[in-house]
Protein backbone atom coordinates (compact mmCIF):
# COMPACT_ATOMS: atom_id res chain seq x y z
CA UNK A 1 0.00 0.00 0.00
CA UNK A 2 1.18 3.50 -0.73
CA UNK A 3 -0.42 6.44 1.01
CA UNK A 4 -1.47 9.13 -1.45
CA UNK A 5 0.25 12.48 -1.13
CA UNK A 6 -0.62 15.90 -2.54
CA UNK A 7 1.61 18.72 -3.79
CA UNK A 8 1.65 21.91 -1.77
CA UNK A 9 3.93 24.93 -1.38
CA UNK A 10 6.37 25.25 1.48
CA UNK A 11 6.80 28.92 2.43
CA UNK A 12 9.57 30.02 4.75
CA UNK A 13 10.06 33.56 6.02
CA UNK A 14 13.01 34.64 8.17
CA UNK A 15 12.27 37.83 10.10
CA UNK A 16 13.20 39.75 13.22
CA UNK A 17 11.10 38.65 16.16
CA UNK A 18 9.22 41.95 16.65
CA UNK A 19 7.90 41.63 13.08
CA UNK A 20 6.46 38.12 13.46
CA UNK A 21 2.98 39.06 14.76
CA UNK A 22 2.53 41.48 11.87
CA UNK A 23 3.71 38.86 9.35
CA UNK A 24 1.29 36.33 10.84
CA UNK A 25 -1.50 38.86 10.27
CA UNK A 26 -0.33 39.42 6.69
CA UNK A 27 -0.36 35.66 6.12
CA UNK A 28 -3.89 35.42 7.46
CA UNK A 29 -4.98 38.09 4.95
CA UNK A 30 -3.55 35.84 2.23
CA UNK A 31 -5.54 32.89 3.57
CA UNK A 32 -2.72 31.19 5.51
CA UNK A 33 -3.71 30.57 9.13
CA UNK A 34 -1.58 27.54 10.05
CA UNK A 35 2.15 27.94 10.62
CA UNK A 36 5.09 26.85 12.75
CA UNK A 37 7.88 29.04 14.16
CA UNK A 38 11.47 27.80 14.38
CA UNK A 39 14.25 29.47 16.37
CA UNK A 40 17.56 30.50 14.81
CA UNK A 41 20.91 31.16 16.41
CA UNK A 42 22.87 33.39 14.05
CA UNK A 43 23.66 34.32 10.49
CA UNK A 44 25.03 36.85 8.04
CA UNK A 45 23.46 38.83 5.24
CA UNK A 46 23.74 42.10 3.40
CA UNK A 47 23.07 43.88 6.69
CA UNK A 48 25.88 42.22 8.58
CA UNK A 49 26.36 39.36 10.99
CA UNK A 50 24.08 38.63 13.91
CA UNK A 51 23.82 36.27 16.84
CA UNK A 52 20.85 35.20 18.88
CA UNK A 53 19.75 38.13 21.04
CA UNK A 54 17.00 37.49 23.52
CA UNK A 55 17.85 40.62 25.48
CA UNK A 56 15.70 43.03 23.52
CA UNK A 57 14.69 40.47 20.94
CA UNK A 58 15.02 43.33 18.46
CA UNK A 59 17.46 41.47 16.23
CA UNK A 60 16.63 37.87 17.11
CA UNK A 61 15.41 36.18 13.97
CA UNK A 62 12.62 33.63 13.74
CA UNK A 63 11.80 31.30 10.83
CA UNK A 64 8.12 31.05 9.98
CA UNK A 65 7.15 27.86 8.11
CA UNK A 66 3.79 27.48 6.40
CA UNK A 67 2.55 24.72 4.10
CA UNK A 68 -0.19 25.98 1.86
CA UNK A 69 -1.85 25.84 -1.55
CA UNK A 70 -0.10 27.43 -4.56
CA UNK A 71 -2.80 30.13 -4.68
CA UNK A 72 -2.44 31.19 -1.08
CA UNK A 73 1.32 31.00 -1.38
CA UNK A 74 1.25 33.34 -4.39
CA UNK A 75 -1.06 35.76 -2.60
CA UNK A 76 1.25 35.82 0.41
CA UNK A 77 4.37 36.32 -1.71
CA UNK A 78 2.67 39.19 -3.53
CA UNK A 79 1.96 40.92 -0.26
CA UNK A 80 5.34 40.30 1.28
CA UNK A 81 7.55 41.00 -1.75
CA UNK A 82 7.49 44.82 -1.45
CA UNK A 83 8.59 44.56 2.19
CA UNK A 84 11.51 42.16 1.71
CA UNK A 85 14.21 44.76 1.20
CA UNK A 86 13.04 47.37 3.70
CA UNK A 87 12.37 44.86 6.47
CA UNK A 88 15.46 42.65 5.92
CA UNK A 89 13.38 39.54 5.30
CA UNK A 90 14.29 36.24 3.67
CA UNK A 91 11.47 34.58 1.72
CA UNK A 92 11.73 31.03 0.37
CA UNK A 93 9.23 28.95 -1.55
CA UNK A 94 9.55 25.29 -2.54
CA UNK A 95 7.61 22.11 -3.32
CA UNK A 96 6.50 19.69 -0.67
CA UNK A 97 4.17 16.70 -0.49
CA UNK A 98 1.66 16.16 2.27
CA UNK A 99 -0.85 13.52 3.28
CA UNK A 100 -4.45 14.76 3.59
CA UNK A 101 -3.89 17.76 1.31
CA UNK A 102 -7.18 19.41 2.22
CA UNK A 103 -5.69 20.36 5.59
CA UNK A 104 -3.13 22.55 3.83
CA UNK A 105 -5.18 24.95 1.74
Amino acid sequence: MTTETTHRRRIEVLADEPLIPAIVRLAAEAGITYYTLLPTSGGAGAHGRWRDDQLSGATAKVMLLAITSPEHAAAFIDRLAPLLESHHLLLLSSDVEVVRGSKFD
Binding site: I23, D52, T59, S86
Partner: protein, 318 residues
Protein backbone atom coordinates in the same frame (compact mmCIF):
# COMPACT_ATOMS: atom_id res chain seq x y z
CA UNK B 1 35.14 58.25 43.56
CA UNK B 2 36.07 57.65 39.92
CA UNK B 3 38.99 55.30 40.48
CA UNK B 4 37.30 53.37 43.23
CA UNK B 5 34.24 53.01 41.05
CA UNK B 6 36.32 51.63 38.19
CA UNK B 7 37.84 48.92 40.36
CA UNK B 8 34.55 47.57 41.65
CA UNK B 9 33.69 43.99 40.64
CA UNK B 10 30.73 45.13 38.52
CA UNK B 11 32.93 47.31 36.33
CA UNK B 12 35.81 44.82 36.26
CA UNK B 13 33.48 42.07 35.05
CA UNK B 14 32.25 44.38 32.31
CA UNK B 15 35.85 44.97 31.26
CA UNK B 16 36.57 41.23 31.44
CA UNK B 17 33.67 40.56 29.09
CA UNK B 18 34.83 43.29 26.72
CA UNK B 19 38.36 41.91 26.79
CA UNK B 20 37.19 38.36 26.11
CA UNK B 21 35.23 39.57 23.10
CA UNK B 22 38.14 41.74 21.94
CA UNK B 23 40.47 38.74 21.73
CA UNK B 24 37.65 36.88 19.95
CA UNK B 25 37.20 34.30 22.69
CA UNK B 26 34.16 32.05 22.33
CA UNK B 27 32.88 32.97 25.81
CA UNK B 28 29.08 33.22 25.73
CA UNK B 29 26.47 33.64 28.47
CA UNK B 30 23.43 31.62 27.39
CA UNK B 31 20.88 34.16 26.19
CA UNK B 32 18.03 32.59 28.17
CA UNK B 33 20.01 33.19 31.35
CA UNK B 34 21.05 36.72 30.39
CA UNK B 35 17.41 37.52 29.67
CA UNK B 36 16.35 36.03 33.00
CA UNK B 37 18.94 38.08 34.87
CA UNK B 38 17.72 41.25 33.17
CA UNK B 39 14.17 40.42 34.31
CA UNK B 40 15.53 39.72 37.79
CA UNK B 41 17.25 43.10 37.90
CA UNK B 42 13.99 44.86 37.03
CA UNK B 43 12.03 42.95 39.67
CA UNK B 44 14.68 43.72 42.26
CA UNK B 45 14.97 47.41 41.38
CA UNK B 46 11.20 47.78 41.33
CA UNK B 47 10.60 46.01 44.65
CA UNK B 48 13.30 47.91 46.51
CA UNK B 49 12.27 51.27 45.09
CA UNK B 50 8.63 50.60 45.91
CA UNK B 51 9.45 49.52 49.45
CA UNK B 52 11.39 52.74 50.01
CA UNK B 53 8.52 54.84 48.73
CA UNK B 54 6.17 52.89 51.02
CA UNK B 55 8.38 54.00 53.88
CA UNK B 56 8.89 57.63 52.92
CA UNK B 57 5.34 58.20 51.69
CA UNK B 58 4.53 60.49 48.76
CA UNK B 59 6.57 63.68 48.79
CA UNK B 60 6.83 66.92 46.88
CA UNK B 61 10.24 65.88 45.50
CA UNK B 62 8.72 62.74 44.10
CA UNK B 63 6.18 64.67 42.03
CA UNK B 64 8.88 67.08 40.84
CA UNK B 65 11.25 64.31 39.84
CA UNK B 66 8.47 62.41 38.08
CA UNK B 67 7.45 65.48 36.12
CA UNK B 68 11.06 66.23 35.24
CA UNK B 69 11.60 62.66 34.02
CA UNK B 70 8.48 62.80 31.87
CA UNK B 71 9.52 66.09 30.33
CA UNK B 72 13.11 64.94 29.75
CA UNK B 73 12.00 61.76 28.00
CA UNK B 74 9.57 63.65 25.75
CA UNK B 75 11.95 66.51 24.94
CA UNK B 76 15.52 65.17 24.94
CA UNK B 77 14.99 63.49 21.55
CA UNK B 78 14.49 66.93 19.94
CA UNK B 79 18.00 68.40 20.34
CA UNK B 80 19.41 64.88 19.84
CA UNK B 81 17.53 64.61 16.53
CA UNK B 82 18.92 67.96 15.41
CA UNK B 83 22.49 66.98 16.32
CA UNK B 84 22.12 63.61 14.59
CA UNK B 85 20.80 65.25 11.41
CA UNK B 86 23.41 68.01 11.26
CA UNK B 87 26.61 66.76 12.89
CA UNK B 88 25.75 63.07 12.45
CA UNK B 89 24.58 63.43 8.83
CA UNK B 90 21.91 60.77 9.38
CA UNK B 91 18.71 60.58 7.33
CA UNK B 92 15.43 61.46 8.99
CA UNK B 93 14.42 57.90 9.87
CA UNK B 94 17.74 56.88 11.39
CA UNK B 95 18.10 60.15 13.27
CA UNK B 96 14.61 59.76 14.73
CA UNK B 97 15.23 56.17 15.78
CA UNK B 98 18.52 57.03 17.49
CA UNK B 99 17.02 60.10 19.16
CA UNK B 100 14.30 57.93 20.73
CA UNK B 101 16.99 55.70 22.27
CA UNK B 102 18.72 58.66 23.90
CA UNK B 103 15.52 60.13 25.27
CA UNK B 104 14.67 56.80 26.87
CA UNK B 105 16.76 55.13 29.60
CA UNK B 106 18.99 52.14 30.33
CA UNK B 107 17.86 50.14 33.35
CA UNK B 108 21.27 48.56 33.91
CA UNK B 109 23.09 51.89 33.75
CA UNK B 110 20.66 53.15 36.39
CA UNK B 111 21.16 50.02 38.53
CA UNK B 112 24.94 50.20 38.36
CA UNK B 113 24.92 53.94 38.97
CA UNK B 114 22.67 53.56 42.01
CA UNK B 115 25.03 50.99 43.50
CA UNK B 116 28.05 53.20 42.88
CA UNK B 117 26.30 56.24 44.35
CA UNK B 118 25.16 54.20 47.37
CA UNK B 119 28.75 53.06 47.90
CA UNK B 120 29.81 56.71 47.86
CA UNK B 121 27.16 57.63 50.45
CA UNK B 122 24.91 59.32 47.88
CA UNK B 123 22.08 56.78 47.59
CA UNK B 124 19.30 58.13 45.35
CA UNK B 125 15.75 58.25 46.75
CA UNK B 126 13.55 55.18 46.21
CA UNK B 127 11.15 57.11 44.01
CA UNK B 128 13.84 57.47 41.33
CA UNK B 129 12.84 53.93 40.31
CA UNK B 130 9.41 55.32 39.50
CA UNK B 131 11.07 58.07 37.45
CA UNK B 132 13.04 55.37 35.62
CA UNK B 133 9.80 53.60 34.71
CA UNK B 134 8.17 56.86 33.64
CA UNK B 135 11.05 57.73 31.30
CA UNK B 136 11.07 54.52 29.26
CA UNK B 137 8.31 55.22 26.73
CA UNK B 138 7.65 58.95 26.09
CA UNK B 139 10.82 59.24 24.00
CA UNK B 140 9.49 56.55 21.67
CA UNK B 141 6.46 58.69 20.87
CA UNK B 142 8.61 61.74 20.13
CA UNK B 143 10.88 59.57 17.98
CA UNK B 144 7.98 58.25 15.92
CA UNK B 145 6.59 61.74 15.44
CA UNK B 146 10.01 62.94 14.30
CA UNK B 147 10.15 60.08 11.78
CA UNK B 148 6.61 60.78 10.59
CA UNK B 149 6.18 57.02 10.84
CA UNK B 150 3.22 54.87 9.90
CA UNK B 151 3.50 54.85 6.12
CA UNK B 152 1.33 52.25 4.46
CA UNK B 153 4.01 49.81 3.33
CA UNK B 154 5.16 49.23 6.89
CA UNK B 155 4.21 46.03 8.67
CA UNK B 156 3.66 48.27 11.69
CA UNK B 157 0.39 49.41 10.15
CA UNK B 158 -0.89 45.91 10.92
CA UNK B 159 -0.96 46.77 14.59
CA UNK B 160 1.12 45.58 17.47
CA UNK B 161 2.90 48.90 17.62
CA UNK B 162 0.92 50.35 20.51
CA UNK B 163 1.44 47.14 22.45
CA UNK B 164 5.17 47.10 21.88
CA UNK B 165 5.33 50.74 22.94
CA UNK B 166 3.19 50.82 26.07
CA UNK B 167 3.05 47.22 27.19
CA UNK B 168 6.65 46.31 26.67
CA UNK B 169 7.46 43.48 29.07
CA UNK B 170 10.29 45.27 30.85
CA UNK B 171 8.18 48.37 31.57
CA UNK B 172 5.33 46.29 32.99
CA UNK B 173 7.66 44.20 35.13
CA UNK B 174 9.41 47.26 36.53
CA UNK B 175 6.18 49.13 37.29
CA UNK B 176 4.46 46.03 38.65
CA UNK B 177 7.36 45.20 40.97
CA UNK B 178 7.42 48.83 42.10
CA UNK B 179 3.74 48.56 43.01
CA UNK B 180 4.26 45.24 44.83
CA UNK B 181 7.10 46.87 46.74
CA UNK B 182 4.77 49.71 47.72
CA UNK B 183 2.03 47.32 48.81
CA UNK B 184 4.22 44.97 50.84
CA UNK B 185 6.82 47.40 52.17
CA UNK B 186 10.21 46.45 53.61
CA UNK B 187 8.61 44.25 56.25
CA UNK B 188 6.46 42.29 53.80
CA UNK B 189 9.42 41.75 51.49
CA UNK B 190 11.70 40.38 54.20
CA UNK B 191 11.00 36.77 53.23
CA UNK B 192 12.02 37.42 49.63
CA UNK B 193 15.00 39.67 50.37
CA UNK B 194 17.45 36.73 50.07
CA UNK B 195 16.54 36.70 46.38
CA UNK B 196 15.60 40.26 45.49
CA UNK B 197 17.88 42.29 47.72
CA UNK B 198 21.01 40.54 49.01
CA UNK B 199 22.33 39.01 45.75
CA UNK B 200 21.62 42.09 43.62
CA UNK B 201 25.21 43.26 43.15
CA UNK B 202 26.49 39.77 42.36
CA UNK B 203 23.81 39.24 39.75
CA UNK B 204 24.70 42.62 38.28
CA UNK B 205 28.29 41.36 37.90
CA UNK B 206 27.17 38.38 35.82
CA UNK B 207 24.94 40.61 33.71
CA UNK B 208 27.70 43.15 33.13
CA UNK B 209 30.06 40.38 32.06
CA UNK B 210 27.51 39.61 29.35
CA UNK B 211 27.08 43.30 28.50
CA UNK B 212 30.85 43.56 28.07
CA UNK B 213 30.80 40.66 25.62
CA UNK B 214 27.85 42.07 23.68
CA UNK B 215 29.09 45.66 23.60
CA UNK B 216 32.60 44.77 22.46
CA UNK B 217 31.32 42.36 19.80
CA UNK B 218 29.06 45.11 18.44
CA UNK B 219 31.92 47.59 18.44
CA UNK B 220 34.10 45.16 16.50
CA UNK B 221 31.34 44.62 13.90
CA UNK B 222 30.80 48.38 13.72
CA UNK B 223 29.74 48.31 10.05
CA UNK B 224 27.05 50.89 10.77
CA UNK B 225 29.10 53.28 12.91
CA UNK B 226 31.01 56.29 11.60
CA UNK B 227 33.44 58.59 13.40
CA UNK B 228 30.60 61.13 13.56
CA UNK B 229 28.08 58.78 15.13
CA UNK B 230 30.63 57.48 17.63
CA UNK B 231 31.45 61.06 18.61
CA UNK B 232 27.76 61.78 19.09
CA UNK B 233 27.36 58.61 21.16
CA UNK B 234 29.92 60.16 23.51
CA UNK B 235 28.61 63.71 23.34
CA UNK B 236 24.91 62.95 23.86
CA UNK B 237 25.27 61.26 27.26
CA UNK B 238 27.50 64.06 28.57
CA UNK B 239 25.13 66.77 27.40
CA UNK B 240 21.90 65.03 28.39
CA UNK B 241 23.32 63.72 31.64
CA UNK B 242 24.77 67.06 32.76
CA UNK B 243 21.48 68.72 31.92
CA UNK B 244 19.67 66.10 33.99
CA UNK B 245 21.88 66.81 36.99
CA UNK B 246 21.40 70.57 36.61
CA UNK B 247 17.64 70.17 36.37
CA UNK B 248 17.60 67.92 39.44
CA UNK B 249 19.65 70.37 41.44
CA UNK B 250 17.47 73.32 40.26
CA UNK B 251 14.38 71.38 41.40
CA UNK B 252 15.93 70.97 44.83
CA UNK B 253 16.46 67.21 44.76
CA UNK B 254 19.08 65.69 47.06
CA UNK B 255 22.50 65.10 45.50
CA UNK B 256 21.97 61.33 45.02
CA UNK B 257 18.63 61.78 43.28
CA UNK B 258 19.93 64.59 41.08
CA UNK B 259 22.85 62.37 40.06
CA UNK B 260 20.38 59.57 39.31
CA UNK B 261 18.31 61.94 37.15
CA UNK B 262 21.54 62.73 35.31
CA UNK B 263 22.23 59.03 34.82
CA UNK B 264 18.73 58.50 33.45
CA UNK B 265 18.96 61.46 31.10
CA UNK B 266 22.46 60.49 30.00
CA UNK B 267 21.75 56.80 29.41
CA UNK B 268 20.32 55.30 26.22
CA UNK B 269 17.87 52.41 25.94
CA UNK B 270 18.97 49.10 24.40
CA UNK B 271 16.12 46.81 25.43
CA UNK B 272 12.68 48.42 25.18
CA UNK B 273 13.26 50.96 22.40
CA UNK B 274 15.05 48.73 19.82
CA UNK B 275 12.18 46.23 19.89
CA UNK B 276 9.68 48.97 19.05
CA UNK B 277 11.90 50.58 16.40
CA UNK B 278 12.42 47.30 14.55
CA UNK B 279 8.67 47.17 14.02
CA UNK B 280 7.83 50.85 13.69
CA UNK B 281 10.82 52.06 11.67
CA UNK B 282 12.13 48.95 9.91
CA UNK B 283 14.15 51.11 7.56
CA UNK B 284 16.25 52.41 10.46
CA UNK B 285 19.45 50.42 10.88
CA UNK B 286 19.58 48.36 14.12
CA UNK B 287 23.36 48.21 13.69
CA UNK B 288 23.38 51.98 14.09
CA UNK B 289 21.13 52.49 17.11
CA UNK B 290 22.30 49.41 18.99
CA UNK B 291 25.88 50.19 18.08
CA UNK B 292 25.63 53.71 19.46
CA UNK B 293 23.65 52.99 22.63
CA UNK B 294 25.09 49.60 23.54
CA UNK B 295 28.63 49.65 22.22
CA UNK B 296 29.60 53.27 22.88
CA UNK B 297 27.27 55.09 25.28
CA UNK B 298 26.77 52.23 27.72
CA UNK B 299 30.51 51.59 28.31
CA UNK B 300 31.13 55.33 28.47
CA UNK B 301 28.50 55.83 31.15
CA UNK B 302 29.66 52.82 33.10
CA UNK B 303 33.27 53.92 33.27
CA UNK B 304 33.18 57.72 33.14
CA UNK B 305 29.65 59.05 32.82
CA UNK B 306 28.30 57.86 36.16
CA UNK B 307 31.35 59.19 37.96
CA UNK B 308 30.92 62.55 36.24
CA UNK B 309 27.20 62.92 36.99
CA UNK B 310 27.92 61.95 40.60
CA UNK B 311 30.76 64.45 40.92
CA UNK B 312 28.69 67.22 39.35
CA UNK B 313 25.73 66.55 41.66
CA UNK B 314 27.99 66.47 44.71
CA UNK B 315 29.43 69.86 43.71
CA UNK B 316 26.12 71.52 42.96
CA UNK B 317 24.26 70.14 45.98
CA UNK B 318 26.55 70.11 48.97
Amino acid sequence: MAIDALLQPVVLFFLLGALAAAVRSDLVIPEAVAKAISLYLMMSIGLRGGAEVAESGFTHDMALAGGAGLALSFLLPLPAFWLLRTLGKLDRTNAAAVAAHYGSVSVVTFATGSEILRQAGMAPAGFMVGVLAVMETPAIITGLLLARAGKSDSLASRGGLLHETFLNGSVILLLGSFLIGMIDGKEGLKAVAPVFDVPFRGMLCIFLLDMGLIAARRLMDRRALTARTVALALLLPVVNGSFGVLLGSWLGLDAGSAAALGILAGSASYIAVPAVMRLALPAADPGLYLGMSLAVTFPFNLTLGIAWYGWLAARLIP
